[in-house]
Symmetry: C4
Subunit: 390 residues, 4 copies
């Protein structure tokens, strides 16, 4: 089987002999995907994806943290065959990459989450379905097929609703629950306020609620007849700023699936999570979308990996743009990474096909960067791969 | 009572259902307010506000100092209710924010200081009235109503005039005297020299003088009849570069109000201030408007908080633009912050309503950043909130 | 004999009295040569030269590393006569500079490698002929005349072909073999993928293969009759990701020429190379074209020089743009430097004459920078010349 | 006597009542002077002044070094009267500022050096006349009147010519000899090569030679009759790359004037200078015009002041643009600073009046920055004024 890096390169260069029509050409670089998405989307939708909290300071810090680490490639190590696969919660994954949960994907393309999930599944990449997805979680699960998929939980103020979500996720075949901690409420996102754009209030991204038996039972009339009341209820139950560590024990009792906490940035919170028996951590600042001025995710990763000492997998997101970023995150101790905006731009530009292309490119880039760094597998990515820039 | 962050967000998003006319839309980000102010104001007036001393080096340093500190948010801490209030000099304030003294506000909008003070008061935010205000201090005090308001003193060469200002401030109900130390004379402000624009010489911003009985007693004719002579006298008495620490004792004898010193940047000056019995300090470089090349205010804050050891409140200004900046300043030991240019731009763009909007946005941003950082009150903001960027 | 710096300056200023026609004027600064090349070349060709792997991060890091070191010039040291010469592998070279191997030079100018080699030889500068050159190595060797020239080897999967290349290089008079280690496969070069431009698939840059008896013996029909099959074979045999250190011993047995390894970035690889008896090292990240995020070449040089301790010459490339860069590299322990993009831009703009002009300028700049730093010879360039910027 | 800062401010603001015609307005900021000079001068002339060696790296480093130091202003120190004066070589100077030697000033304005010298003298500021001045040193000396003026020596290969220059300088009333060490030859100045512009070859800036009896005695015909031969001779005798420390003793024997060495950047060269009995040092990298990549002058100053330990005055130039820069240089131990490009731009824009305005502005800025930093005199500028930026 050819390595994905060589395969994707080969396919690109095959176009020398069989050129695609100009209209069919997709961007290559992250910056070009972003620029194309900006052209294609209305301003409000574009900035809902591209924007960040406050001044965007954290979003920039995320990137700067990657730039401080330099790869020191090794030579003459026979990198003919590379193995990018990892094992997470007993499942073999072909790549150390998952698609991060992003809500309301249909505002950027009709293919929405199901399209993105199909694209991911076609490459064996797990999709993490957001509670705020446009499509109900059951449809997304189906789109993922046999490829592992995880369910991201926005923990509702209504415990029965939360329990219902978890129950449905289990039944739909999701193999892990990702609890997002950093969004008990929306942050101060200046671009969205400027556009007065909150898609949920327009009835977008609340499909999981509208189809939920508990949620429906709270409504006087079914949402098909009175959407406004359904939306109003949604605003009341969506998040839960009152959650504390003790609530995790409640969740633990409600599911046998692995539980991961997403949004951990402080080592002490990582240790607290271990004490509560969580199965994994996702170091993340939500792509800079929640706390403006927050620590860069990669910097937090280093501190958290140090205290976790391998007891549970530590994943990370926020700032992954290219193969070298993944190499750096894994070398610093991440078990896998989640990718967000890159695939959202792919979706915006070309729907499912766009997501697939973005992902194939990223994996090819990762494969080649790994090989050219003189490593053959994810296991060979340890801190010796890196040096801090002077 | 809803938290201000959620409330302001709610009001923004209500516009989805009841959109405001385009002409009625106000900016959200600091940069957009600034840009709109620039469009709206004549160049000389805009630069009088936006400009700084010399090359603007200190103004940039003020911002860079904030960027060096990163917030490390904590999770699962029940942030349903936040309390942003503080107590300063025995008064309860709903927010750790005051409006910095800015002179001649009528050059940017007819609402002037009274408009800005009303906007602040509507949110319970103290207004600090500048000696160089357009409106007499008595009118501003009235605009503040029951909300605490402080009087900023430019200490005149004429001691009787200074005493008169302090006396009037006490009578008008100001509850603290803020002595600005860093402006015994105007700095080298290149933009203003370029525009040859000094509003005071045009009779702007000297309202407190023209209405003062001592000042009037120094004039041969009342200023209504001979404004030129009044302005000439103003140039002679405005500031006092001859002041020394000993003069503080004189002021101490002339008022029972708390005295704060504004413009302290060196720890030794902070200690000297304590020896002279001042009641509070405001660490400030006047927004970069006085000494080009001066230390960043946030960096000075750290050194000064260390030596003051809680004996008096230490406030700070110079560079506060967003909620995260306030979180950082408070975490590093500031008791409260003063906001300057942001509200001046609000005033320029939309008068009183603009100031109110700028302030509400800033407080909402602060509230949400606090909550999403896992803190419920100002008391929970201590150095553990932060890490230096690597 | 005049020093080259004074000579070139003199010739420039002679134009005051005998001005060249505008159309005849060549750029001076690196940035201007690059800009002119960009105007002149089609986009695909330009970016094939100017582009880098991934985000171009390594290419920028290469430059930033030079900026961190500052020269401390010494005064009053009689710098009337400078000697820029060095001795490498027993050969006297007039300058510590070689032309780096660059493939497919005919895509940028019909003069191609032979033109570049003639330009270099006219100044006594060694040319390193790339395996991927357009012109067969025998022609390039002839263009170099008596000036030393080295052969750069892309080690083929086909050992007989590799052996044939080495044999031909020896016969053609090359005096060293440079094995490029960092390119067992093409990196993820986004600009080339965007343009779907890989010149080799168009039959460019495989002249050394098409003329090779071993390569030809592998083909059913001679390439003159069936180029497509020849290209297809090329794609199969070009690189060899399976190489290991042990393979060096095979090469050692196949040639008595000095062997240099190009692409060494880790001190441990440098030591391993010494254990395998190589004769020299070239610290290089291929101008940022292979591993995005890789360590800056100059930073790697420092670490490698430290462990090699003078046992073999350590050359470097990746980022050399001006005389000061060469001074810094030599002061940090490089025996000589290789120059890449600068001469490629010269070739693009004006063919052989452009390469010559770029090179003369660079050497003049080096000579003057050396003299004005108070040094008379390459031997006087040691770490005392430099200080790290604070 | 009013302090210059207040005086200049006053004069600017007087224009509110007596506005100057637009055409009469001069720039204020360094950047605006530079921009105006660029508009006014032909490209070759502009870049002869504004350009630097190589990539301009040193010129940027000069500025960055100032930005690393922050002033910590002190309050309440009675700064009513400031004294900017210093004593150098027994002469009282009203300001710690001199005009740096700049050659060929008539290429930028017909007022040339005499105009610049008159402007400086009108403020009591010493002018340092360049050997490469357009006007003969005797005329410049006359323009300086009673104000001290120094002679800058480009040490010729012809010792009798050098001796003649020194003799003439003494007779003309110059009170110090400044030997520029860093220019035994012209550096690689890319902009000048691009324009093929070397004013000396056009007969500019060699007035001191053409009027010199020794120089004339070397010519077959007087330069009035055969300028080409005079220029040719100039190119042969101008600089002297063969100078060594021993030659200083020769100079010492030829003059009783204080000798300063300009261009010292290494502490060991400073110590060597002391051993040879020089009377002062000028730390300088020639404004970045000689060694691209050289250490920033301010960084070199710190190291040199440390070893000189007050035994001779240490002056500095290279990067001084505003008052804060002078405060920083003096606080770090400089006895005085030289200003170059700023006054050249003044000359380009408005001749003598432009130089005077640039200088008055700079001194006003210095005075105000000193006062607002809480210092009353140059003597109060010591390292306690500064902190390194974190």
């Amino acid at each position: 089987m050819p390595n994905i890096g060589n395969l994707v390169q080969f396919e690109y260069y095959q176009q020398i002999f069989a050129p695609r029509p100009e209209s069919d050409r997709l961007p290559v670089s992250f910056e070009d995907w972003e620029a194309r998405a900006r052209e294609k989307l209305p301003s409000a939708q574009y900035w809902y994806i591209a924007g960040a909290a406050g001044a965007g300071d954290t979003m920039r810090a995320n990137r700067a943290a990657f730039d401080r680490w330099r790869i020191i490639p090794r030579m003459l190590r026979d990198v003919t065959e590379r193995d990018l696969s990892i094992t997470l919660f007993g499942r073999h994954l072909p790549f150390p990459v998952l698609l991060a949960p992003i809500g309301v994907q249909s505002i950027i393309h009709p293919d929405g989450e199901c399209g993105a999930a199909r694209a991911a599944a076609s490459l064996g990449v797990p999709f993490i379905a957001s509670t705020a997805a446009t499509h109900p979680m059951e449809d997304i699960a189906q789109a993922c097929g046999e490829v592992p998929h995880w369910y991201q939980l926005y923990w509702s103020k209504d415990p029965e609703l939360t329990a219902s979500f978890v129950r449905r996720a289990e039944r739909a075949g999701y193999s892990a629950i990702v609890v997002t901690l950093d969004t008990p409420m929306m942050a101060w996102r200046e671009r969205d306020l400027e556009h007065t754009y909150l898609p949920f209030l327009l009835g977008e991204g609340i499909g999981n609620y509208l189809t939920d038996p508990v949620f429906r039972s709270r409504l006087a009339k079914p949402p098909e007849q009175d959407k406004a009341s359904a939306i109003a209820l949604w605003t009341q139950v969506f998040g839960n700023p009152g959650l504390t560590w003790a609530d995790l024990d409640w969740l633990r009792r409600h599911t046998r699936l692995p539980i991961l906490l997403k949004g951990i940035l402080h080592p002490d919170d990582a240790l607290e999570a271990l004490r509560h028996g969580v199965d994994g951590l996702i170091v993340s600042n939500h792509g800079g979308r929640q706390v403006d001025g927050a620590v860069a995710a990669l910097d937090a990763l280093v501190d958290i990996v140090r205290v976790v000492r391998g007891r549970v997998p530590v994943l990370m997101d926020s700032g992954i743009r290219r193969g070298a970023d993944i190499v750096k995150a894994l070398a610093l101790g991440a078990s896998a990474v989640l990718v967000g905006r890159p695939y959202a731009y792919g979706l915006a530009v070309a729907g499912e096909a766009g997501v697939r292309q973005v992902l194939r490119n990223l994996l090819a880039d990762l494969d080649l960067t790994l090989a050219l760094s003189g490593r053959r597998s994810v296991a060979e990515l340890d801190p010796s791969v890196l040096a801090l820039a002077p």
